[in-house]
């Protein structure tokens, strides 16, 4: 409706306003429970930026979120709601660790890339199943991926208990040469778990940007997402594009899991629930409006909230539960950005009227 420039401005305004409103609501909630919101937010900022260690942990948390968000956005662009990213993350995590601990004698230059690829392939395959069913049997990818999430969770737990270990909850650590961690990164970040994952994520932002905007594959994925009929008319293989977009989506999500397995934890353990990282990744993609640059900022924001939030109980006495409510209210506003868009449009109209009368 508006011209291009104005449209872009509104687009950036919406997520920014969502965050601000979320912070305000969070403050009100803290006040309501009798805590000092200023102290609370200060503790959060300190917990995210207060020392090299905190910054390192914050960036460490953001790394997988970025690739997972990118993964979700690729499927989303093709018109699919890949709710299964969490399961794809988990399988990526599992398979990378599995390969790494299975071949402890391999040299790093072989073991590391193969472990990474194993994780990526696992996520890609898992999402590919949903894509295949969607393309050939028109099943809803939402339902299929939700079911695949459960399958992923229980399969992982079974394998960890019965195959990777002898009834233990946690696998042995991966061999040193398969790790994504680097001494120099740990050293400059005060011994945090920051690892090479952050660089992989930053590179992939650019890669996905190029893929979607500058390649024929990206052009096709976008076309299919916006209008399947016209895409078929233009001779695109819509089935192949559906599957491919899901495979790419799952591969990126799996890579997020790899960063957990080979970077953050260097092992895998029995999971009580789907990794929260998966759902956070979806929120990141939605907040970032499915644009690679937006996803970068959204992932950083989430990392600040989550990692900074862990310092709030100690730093300001705000209990964890309230911290979670504050974070949830910010996410709520992010999800409710339609509402914000509505009010911005209304204001714009009101302004036009004023301008027009003169």
């Amino acid at each position: 409706m508006l011209n291009e420039n104005k449209g872009a401005k509104v687009n950036i305004l919406v997520p920014v306003l969502s965050v601000v409103l979320g912070l305000i609501l969070g403050a009100i909630i803290m006040l309501a429970f009798g805590y000092d919101p200023m102290a609370g937010y200060q503790a959060m900022l300190r917990g995210a930026f207060g020392s090299p260690f905190y910054i390192g942990e914050m960036l460490r948390y953001a790394s997988p979120l970025i690739v997972i968000g990118l993964g979700f956005s690729v499927a989303n662009t093709a018109g699919f709601f890949n709710i299964g990213v969490a399961g794809q993350v988990l399988l990526g995590w599992l398979c990378s660790v599995w390969v790494a601990i299975s071949f402890p004698n391999w040299p790093g230059y072989l073991l590391l890339p193969i472990s990474v690829l194993a994780g990526v392939a696992a996520g890609a395959l898992w999402a590919g199943i949903a894509g295949f069913l969607r393309a050939y049997f028109n099943t809803s990818e939402v339902i299929v991926t939700i079911m695949l999430n459960y399958t992923a969770l229980y399969t992982t737990n079974y394998l960890v208990r019965n195959v990777l270990t002898d009834s233990a909850d946690t696998t042995p650590p991966i061999p040193k040469q398969a790790s994504l961690r680097a001494d120099w990164l740990s050293n400059i970040s005060g011994g945090s778990r920051l690892n090479m994952g952050i660089f992989i994520s930053l590179i992939l932002i650019v890669v996905v940007m190029i893929l979607m905007q500058k390649t024929t594959l990206g052009y096709e994925i976008r076309s299919v997402g916006m209008n399947t009929f016209a895409s078929r008319y233009a001779g695109m293989n819509t089935k192949q594009n559906i599957i491919l977009s899901m495979v790419i989506s799952g591969g990126l999500a799996g890579l997020g899991g790899v960063m957990e397995g080979l970077g953050t934890f260097e092992n895998i353990f029995v999971q009580g629930a789907m990794p929260a990282l998966g759902y956070d990744g979806m929120a990141v993609a939605l907040l970032g409006l499915s644009s690679p640059a937006g996803i970068l900022f959204a992932a950083l924001l989430f990392a600040i909230l989550k990692i900074g939030g862990t310092s709030m109980p100690l730093g300001s006495g705000v209990p964890t539960e309230v911290v979670d409510i504050v974070i949830a209210s910010i996410i709520f506003f992010v999800g409710a950005n339609y509402l914000i868009r509505f009010f911005i449009d209304k204001r714009a109209r009101a302004n036009v009227k004023k301008g027009g009368a003169e």
Partner: protein
């Protein structure tokens, strides 16, 4: 209330999109009980002006009065309250809903918190009887014809108590019979004191129904004239700003080798019934074959089958002696077929994408538009700029989304894309639907030029004028079969109409002679 003759006065309306003025100081005055036509080239700003009146767009400046009173139509809701209702150029119905559900959507009546569909259905029935707008209130919208969908749109506005009805190109999608019915409906509405603003590119329709006509050119109102005192030619010239020919002159066709050969073709439609039955047809290089017929007699399925969008049940289709039966669409395109699809928004364009991306839709994967899977944006844009220029697509630049173009300019963009590839067989389905007379003249010229380059053209149209003027041979389809193949030079519109209604060539000729072309099978 101030005394006035006018129900609607739009004074000095200007609407700007960025730097571009879509409406530039337009004046429009409509009297109570009149049918007022709005005429203008594609992209002249007609839809924009009406979107302002119906509250979808806010004018940059200008004043609107309803019954003499200054109003501020800030939303469609306000327009509703003022009794202004609009039926859009592209319908806004929910496919999966029933007719009743669509009509009451947004103004549902409830009983104890539950939808009161019975009551609504009664009301809709009363309305449709009163104005002769017959529809099946329980049918799903996706299952009814376009003409029926339009009635639903009109009923939707009447259900909300509309006094001023805006119809944006209502006839573009209708068959001749449906158009006649629509005109009757319009008259019954104005008899009840309602006013109608109608946008149409068809001058004879304006001559038939309208009392007044306001002409708009490039965003400015040129004049408002009394329709009875103005000829079609005058209207056309006023609108385009130069003299227009309605019938493009052309030489005798020089048919050469066979380009497309269809043998014993049978195609089923989505419900599994045979839409095309044992169909045979050859199309030669250097000729334009027109397919005439009432909508729904298998024309769409025939074209979808040739272009690979629908499965062929049995029979063969060969192009330049190559069997293309049931090949994927891209293989068929590459074999030398260009296709201007009947439904431009569903098949022809990806609306949220930019114009240059849309213009590259058939060739993006080939050099120079891409190499090794990497797109060459500059080559795409350059080609788009060239075609925008050549085909006079009215847009600010190639970065505009296809959805921001006016309906007629969307169509021109598709035609540019398909014709410029210089296909051996150009299939044009309803190519001038929604185009202004100037643009139609241009498109017809291009089709004839394409023929004269030694290519084959298959033209499908519901417009008898178009079929008669442009084709070298007319194939009339009835219930999936060929009712007759005739030469446009020795057939009258009446005879064509009878053929379309299912009679044989001999019978049609005899009947047309008999009643001297009075009333012939519902064809105008």
């Amino acid at each position: 209330m101030p005394e006035t003759n006018y129900v609607i006065e739009m004074l000095g309306i200007t609407k700007q999109f960025g730097d571009f003025k879509a409406n530039d100081n337009i004046n429009l005055k409509v009297k109570k009980g009149e049918i007022h036509a709005l005429l203008g080239e594609n992209g002249a700003g007609k839809s924009t002006l009406m979107n302002i009146l119906s509250g979808l767009l806010e004018p940059t400046s200008g004043e609107i009065r309803v019954n003499g009173e200054k109003v501020d139509i800030s939303s469609p809701g306000v327009a509703d309250k003022l009794g202004i209702g609009m039926v859009h150029q592209h319908f806004m119905l929910v496919d999966k809903f029933t007719v009743t559900e669509n009509i009451i959507l947004g103004s549902e009546k409830t009983k104890a918190g539950f939808l009161d569909k019975k009551e609504a259905q009664k009301e809709i029935k009363a309305l449709s009887e009163r104005y002769g707008l017959f529809v099946d209130p329980t049918a799903r919208v996706e299952a009814i014809s376009v003409g029926m969908q339009q009635r639903v749109e009109i009923l939707k506005t009447l259900y909300r108590g509309t006094d001023i009805l805006i119809l944006d190109e209502p006839t573009a999608v209708l068959t001749p019979q449906e158009i006649t019915e629509l005109m009757e409906i319009m008259h019954s509405l104005t008899k009840e004191g309602k006013s109608i603003i109608i946008i149409t590119h068809k001058l004879e329709e304006i001559k038939q129904v309208a009392d007044q006509c306001t002409v708009i050119r490039r965003g400015q109102s040129i004049d408002t004239v009394e329709v009875a005192e103005t000829s079609s030619q005058q209207l056309a010239d006023m609108m385009v700003g130069r003299s227009v020919t309605f019938k493009v002159p052309k030489e005798e066709a020089q048919p050469k080798e066979t380009v497309l050969s269809i043998q014993d073709l049978t195609v089923k439609e989505s419900r599994g019934l045979e839409a095309v039955k044992h169909f045979n047809l050859d199309i030669h290089a250097g000729e334009i074959v027109g397919i005439a017929g009432v909508d729904g007699n298998g024309q769409s399925e025939l074209i979808q089958a040739i272009t690979g969008l629908t499965k062929v049940e049995s029979g063969t289709i060969t192009l330049n002696s190559k069997n293309i039966t049931n090949l994927p669409p891209r293989k068929i395109t590459e074999a030398g077929v260009g296709h201007i699809p009947e439904d431009r928004q569903k098949y022809g364009l990806i609306l949220p994408m930019t114009l240059y991306e849309n213009i590259s839709l058939q060739e993006y994967y080939k050099e120079p538009f891409s190499k090794n899977g990497i797109l060459n944006g500059n080559a795409m844009k350059k080609n788009a700029r060239k075609l925008i220029d050549e085909f006079d697509v009215r847009t600010q630049n190639e970065y505009n989304t296809a959805s921001s173009l006016s309906g007629g300019n969307q169509q021109k963009a598709i035609i540019a894309r398909e014709v410029s590839r210089d296909p051996d067989l150009l299939i044009a389905a309803q190519p001038t639907r929604g185009l202004d007379v100037g643009a139609i003249e241009y498109i017809h010229k291009r089709l004839i030029e394409h023929r004269d380059h030694g290519k084959a053209v298959l033209l499908m149209s519901f417009e008898l004028d178009e079929i008669m003027n442009v084709s070298d041979r007319i194939v009339v389809m009835f219930e999936g079969e060929i009712a007759g193949i005739v030469d446009p030079k020795d057939v009258t519109q009446q005879e064509l109409g009878l053929l379309m209604a299912g009679s044989s060539v001999e019978k049609a000729k005899a009947m047309a002679d008999q009643d001297g072309g009075k009333e012939s099978a519902n064809v105008k």
